[in-house]
Symmetry: C2
Subunit: 216 residues, 2 copies
């Protein structure tokens, strides 16, 4: 595979172009190919130990989205964006999950499970020591996925609005997650900005590099 | 600004090319321009409310990195990579910080602070309700930055290795952060893979899209 070589200009122009979209154009829809790319972007997200302790709900159903709306402070992006992605994290890193991950790793790389028994034991020890904080740890991994998703969308010229202001228990109930291993973490409506969204033209507010980067 | 239009192939090829680099080539250095782009990528990272509750330590000093090494399980990427980025989060979202952010927002957008007093009050209320969990919340924001940083590096053909296996209190001590508002969260050595790193050729392990994406 050749080395990637996207230019700084391409990258930074995309990051400057993006903003937390307040108003989506409900008439503009993502193509099937764009949705597939966003899926694959999430699948490829790095995670600690490669554990991928997450699942992503791609919600297009209008009735479900209308039901979610009041549990997101009525923010209309929930219903207006072409796609609503709800990022969820595993509540636990339990032994069956870990075994499934180890089997997948062994199968992918063509060696027996026994060849990575030490790796499995290390992760199991880490998970025991994390006891009671699995959801918090998994949630941080999900935020890597959120970062990668927003960056990828921007590069593709697709708008997004990361949204923490939601009620995870209500999202869980409506999405049928309450009694599953997965819990709602954060939402991200994705689509295309409305021509009327005045926030698209607001100057981006960022501290200067001199305030947030220290060279040592 | 024209719409970004990076192709799916360019994006996904970069995400498939990247891996958690185990062995960096110490002789290959990032250019000044590449470092500036990584800085700007971090500066532009989205965060909830735009609060940017972070600072990023760019460590090149060999003596500091040698001192950090034993507090990262001796993982040689700490000393071998061209650049070591240590991502830190604010311990608190306190009133002076919030005031500084609001002033920066008002100045950037050319309106008086009073015009966004309601916005300030909303964030202050949120921060009060988060009492005791500021570092945890800010840490999640830092993971967005980690995701954006890794995605950006991959697109530029630059290698990285996200690294949670470090001792934050020791990093804080060595980096002089212990009595500051910022706490070490995660490290990310950045540079170029060594030709001998056999992990560069290991098959990437990911659950299939059908296992982690659900369409509703």
């Amino acid at each position: 595979m050749p080395n990637p070589n996207t230019s700084s200009e391409t990258l930074l122009d995309a990051l400057r172009w993006r903003y937390a979209t307040k108003q989506f154009d409900p008439s503009r829809k993502l193509s099937e190919a764009q949705i597939k790319t966003l899926e694959e972007t999430l699948v490829l997200t790095p995670s600690s130990f490669g554990l991928q302790p997450w699942r992503f709900e791609f919600v297009t159903d209008a009735a479900i989205r209308a039901e979610l709306l009041p549990h997101a402070w009525g923010q209309k992006q929930i219903v207006d964006a072409s796609l609503l992605v709800v990022l969820t994290a595993r509540r636990e890193i339990d032994e069956p999950y870990l075994d499934g991950f180890i089997e997948d790793t062994a199968r992918t790389r063509g060696h027996p499970v026994s060849a990575i028994a030490g790796y499995r034991d290390m992760i199991a020890g880490f998970a025991r020591q994390l006891s009671g904080q699995h959801l918090a740890w998994n949630t941080r991994q999900v935020y890597i996925a959120l970062g990668q998703l927003m960056t990828a969308a921007a590069l593709m010229g697709i708008d997004a609005c990361p949204m923490e202001g939601i009620s995870p228990p209500d999202f869980d109930r409506i999405l049928g997650l309450s009694d599953t291993p997965y819990a709602t973490v954060v939402a991200c409506p994705i689509g295309f900005r409305h021509a009327d969204d005045k926030y698209a033209h607001a100057k981006k507010v960022r501290f200067p590099a001199s305030a947030v980067i220290r060279h040592r």
